[in-house]
């Protein structure tokens, strides 16, 4: 999936004219660090613009953490990284109340989750108890410590990474937590030319150090509001619902996409349309996002797993069964 820039055919209009240049600024900045990952960066931006969280799932050394850092650097906001380990405690994430001897009262010491961009590195290495502490933060954008609720700053984005091949000492994320991620992305090996470019780019200095913020927090909030204004025509809206529902009726799927998935696919389609310079969603936006948004939310049946049908295949099959609204 590319960012699919629309040619000058009159399609770009008010919302697109505002969102697209900002998106391009971020993409170009991240691309100074990352090589050949435009599709992944575009998906990250989709998540950023529709206030979703992203699960970066790939084998070690593929640049997941680097990408998350690069994106965080492009935003003029706070960035915190949490290295998830089996001995991580929930209070290490959310923060805790400590006794202040000078005042003789308890004072809340904020955890790393209270930041604009949070990198949850190797999230599946923490125990389910620690993983669960992020549920409230991701969905409700608040944490509760000792009965006191603390609201998270806006914008708020969780970029979690996990390694799919290392099973030793990991705790797979439960469905409830997976459902809180807007999308799951894996970008795979680079091509030969891209790998050579990576070597050259990091030959002398780390380009990450040179990155400066290209978008402010207030501007990001405005872009998020604009994305919500993107038009979704009635038939396209029905198409989104049907695509999500098709995963529930799909043979080989034990558990289909939730209504939350439908709602997130809708919002993500709006954001992608705006990034592509349009003020309306077209079926291609939905199709391009269906796999990253829905695949990690469905549970394949045992038979499908034994037959080697991946979650992505199941979503693609569902897509193929839904008619696209055309004349």
């Amino acid at each position: 999936m590319s960012d699919g820039h629309e040619p000058a055919s009159g399609a770009t209009d008010d919302i697109g004219a505002v969102v697209r240049p900002a998106a391009l600024r971020v993409i170009e900045a991240v691309e100074r660090v990352m090589v050949g990952k435009r599709d992944t960066v575009t998906l990250l931006l989709v998540a950023l613009f529709c206030e979703g969280h992203v699960l970066l799932e790939d084998i070690p050394g593929m640049g997941k953490t680097l990408m998350a850092k690069a994106l965080a650097r492009c935003l003029d906001g706070s960035f915190r990284r949490i290295q998830f380990t089996p001995d991580l405690l929930p209070s290490d994430v959310t923060g805790l109340n400590v006794f202040d001897q000078s005042t003789g009262a308890f004072r809340f010491r904020a955890g790393p989750i209270l930041a604009n961009v949070v990198l949850a590195d190797e999230v599946n290495r923490a125990t389910p108890r620690s993983q669960a502490c992020m549920l409230e933060a991701m969905e409700e954008r608040q944490v509760t410590v000792d009965g006191e609720t603390h609201f998270l700053p806006r914008p708020f984005l969780v970029l979690a990474t996990q390694n799919p091949v290392e099973q030793e000492g990991t705790f797979p994320l439960p469905e409830a937590q997976l459902d809180r991620f807007l999308m799951s992305i894996g970008h795979g090996y680079p091509s030969e030319a891209e790998e050579e470019a990576i070597v050259l780019r990091f030959e002398r200095a780390n380009p990450l150090d040179a990155l400066v913020p290209v978008i402010s927090g207030s501007e990001l909030l405005r872009l998020q509001a604009l994305c919500r204004e993107v038009r979704v025509e009635e038939s396209v809206r029905r198409y989104i619902v049907r695509v999500a529902r098709a995963t529930r009726d799909q043979a080989g799927v034990h558990l289909g996409a939730s209504p939350r998935a439908t709602q997130r696919l809708f919002a993500a389609s709006q954001a992608l349309a705006a990034i592509r310079g349009r003020s309306y969603v077209i079926p291609d936006d939905v199709r391009d996002l269906a796999v990253p948004v829905l695949a990690h939310r469905i549970v394949p049946a045992t038979e499908a797993r034994l037959r080697g049908r991946s979650r992505e295949d199941l979503v693609r099959e569902s897509l193929a069964s839904v008619p696209v609204p055309v004349e």
Partner: protein, 465 residues
């Protein structure tokens, strides 16, 4: 050789599928049988020769009505209606002019048509020529492979015709007919050679193309022969027209057009190399009207032919049993004429009712579309219909961009126009943007280009959606 004959038959009958289209086609082919049967009867009895063509007229008329029912562009339907009217006129001329014993029925016709056999023949020739060319062009564009069905019936017709020859015999010397046949064969071979040469030795594009070439040659040769020898009657033209169709079908079956698999690179394949798609009838009229029409049409044809054959059989039986001293087919001409006319009118009544019912809905739709301003949605809808007709339908789960991407490799010349139309359609359909005059003007330009180039797309076998 056996393999070739087997291939010819499999080609012929693979297209025969149940359904109204097939019934209509059978009825139309049956009218050929009727035409020939009546012509042979008239010749054997030494009677006038008009009835053969009267029955022959059912075939083109039926085809035109079928075309009207099939729908398509407004212009095509108007052309079909005009040609149907022309055929009706020709039939009325034949019915009214031929019986010289009813002068009062001739009063309505102009002198040149009433008194001149040449003028009479000319009208028929012109109408048949127009029909042949129109039908060929239609078949070629739509990829209709009805000739497969026709071939099967024509095989049966050979037997029937030989039977008539054996029983009645034709002992008249007809040099004009021989000249006509020779001209037909020579011109036909020349046409085929020209077609092969134009396509780089790849053969004809489709059965329809061969039929078109043959029909054209037939009419030219028939006209020349008719001028050379006045004894070349419409009956011979009818028989030779049928032979031409049969030869064309056989040639096409024996030398099928190349399939896309013959060309590693699809773009290198000559245009039209793909096998023509099967005929897909999409009759939008109510089912009961369709059934009624089919019933009238088929019943009238069957009735007409059965009447003629039964009367003939009765006469032959009488002759064989010795009840009659001559083998003249002593049927009651006036009865045949009356019954034939009645059957024809019954068919017309059914067809007219069907057409009227069909046109009510079509006219309503046409008016609604006329009210709709020209825009990308209308253009895109027409493009979809046009491309589907050429075997490139959009899959139900395919987005407009996905469809365009699939078409582009096969339609290189129109890639940018297709992109523009697709994006304009998206803007109008999903973005609900109004059509501005400037955009409409631009749209008209690249829509015209697209429409022209869509007709140049190669035919493609229909795929399962």
């Amino acid at each position: 050789m056996n393999a070739r004959i087997g291939h010819a038959f499999s080609h012929a009958f693979s297209h025969a599928r149940p359904g109204l289209g097939l019934i209509l086609f059978v009825a139309m082919e049956a009218s050929w049988i009727g035409a020939l049967a009546l012509t042979a009867e008239m010749m054997a009895a030494g009677a006038a020769h008009g009835y053969g063509l009267a029955a022959l007229g059912f075939y083109p008329f039926g085809w035109l009505v079928l075309r009207l029912l099939e729908g398509g562009e407004v212009g095509e339907r108007i052309a079909a209606a005009a040609l149907a009217g022309a055929f009706l006129f020709a039939l009325l001329v034949l019915i009214a002019v031929t019986p010289a014993d009813r002068p009062e029925r001739l009063a309505a016709f102009p002198d040149w048509l009433r008194t001149s056999a040449e003028a009479h023949r000319l009208v028929v020739l012109v109408v048949i020529a127009a029909f042949c060319f129109w039908r060929g062009a239609l078949l070629a564009r739509r990829g209709v492979d009805g000739p497969g069905v026709a071939l099967g019936f024509q095989m049966g017709l050979i037997v029937l015709f030989l039977l008539f020859l054996a029983v009645a015999g034709i002992d008249r010397a007809v040099p004009g007919g021989i000249a006509f046949a020779a001209a037909f064969v020579i011109c036909g071979l020349l046409a085929l050679w020209a077609v092969r040469r134009a396509r780089g030795g790849a053969g004809s594009a489709s059965p329809a193309a061969a039929i078109t070439a043959m029909a054209g040659v037939l009419v030219v040769a028939g006209g020349l022969a008719a001028i050379a020898d006045p004894r070349v009657t419409e009956a011979f033209l009818a028989i030779l027209a049928w032979l031409g169709g049969l030869i064309a079908s056989l040639l096409d079956a024996l030398f099928p057009p190349p399939s896309p698999q013959d060309f590693p690179d699809a773009l290198m394949a000559p245009q039209g190399a793909a096998e023509a798609p099967r005929q897909r009838l999409d009759l939008t009229m109510p089912a009961w009207v369709r059934t009624l029409f089919a019933f009238f049409f088929f019943a009238s044809m069957t009735y007409l032919v059965a009447m003629a054959l039964m009367a003939n059989l009765r006469a032959l039986t009488n002759w064989l049993k010795g009840f009659s001293r001559t083998r003249d087919l002593a049927y009651d001409r006036s009865t045949i004429r009356f019954e034939g006319l009645r059957a024809f009118l019954a068919m017309l009544a059914g067809a007219a009712r069907a057409v009227a019912a069909n046109f009510r809905a079509r006219i309503a739709r046409w008016r609604a579309r006329r009210r709709e301003p020209f825009g990308a949605r209308r253009a895109y809808r027409q493009l979809l219909g046009r491309l589907a007709g050429r075997g490139w339908p959009r899959r139900a789960s395919e987005t407009p961009r996905g469809y365009a991407a699939r078409l582009k490799p096969h339609w290189r010349g129109a890639a940018s126009d297709l992109d523009l139309l697709t994006r304009a359609y998206e803007t109008e359909r999903y973005g609900r943007k109004p059509v501005t005059p400037l955009r409409e003007a631009r749209l008209r330009i690249f829509w015209r280009k697209l429409r022209r180039s869509a007709d140049a797309l190669p035919y493609r076998q229909q795929e399962q959606r």
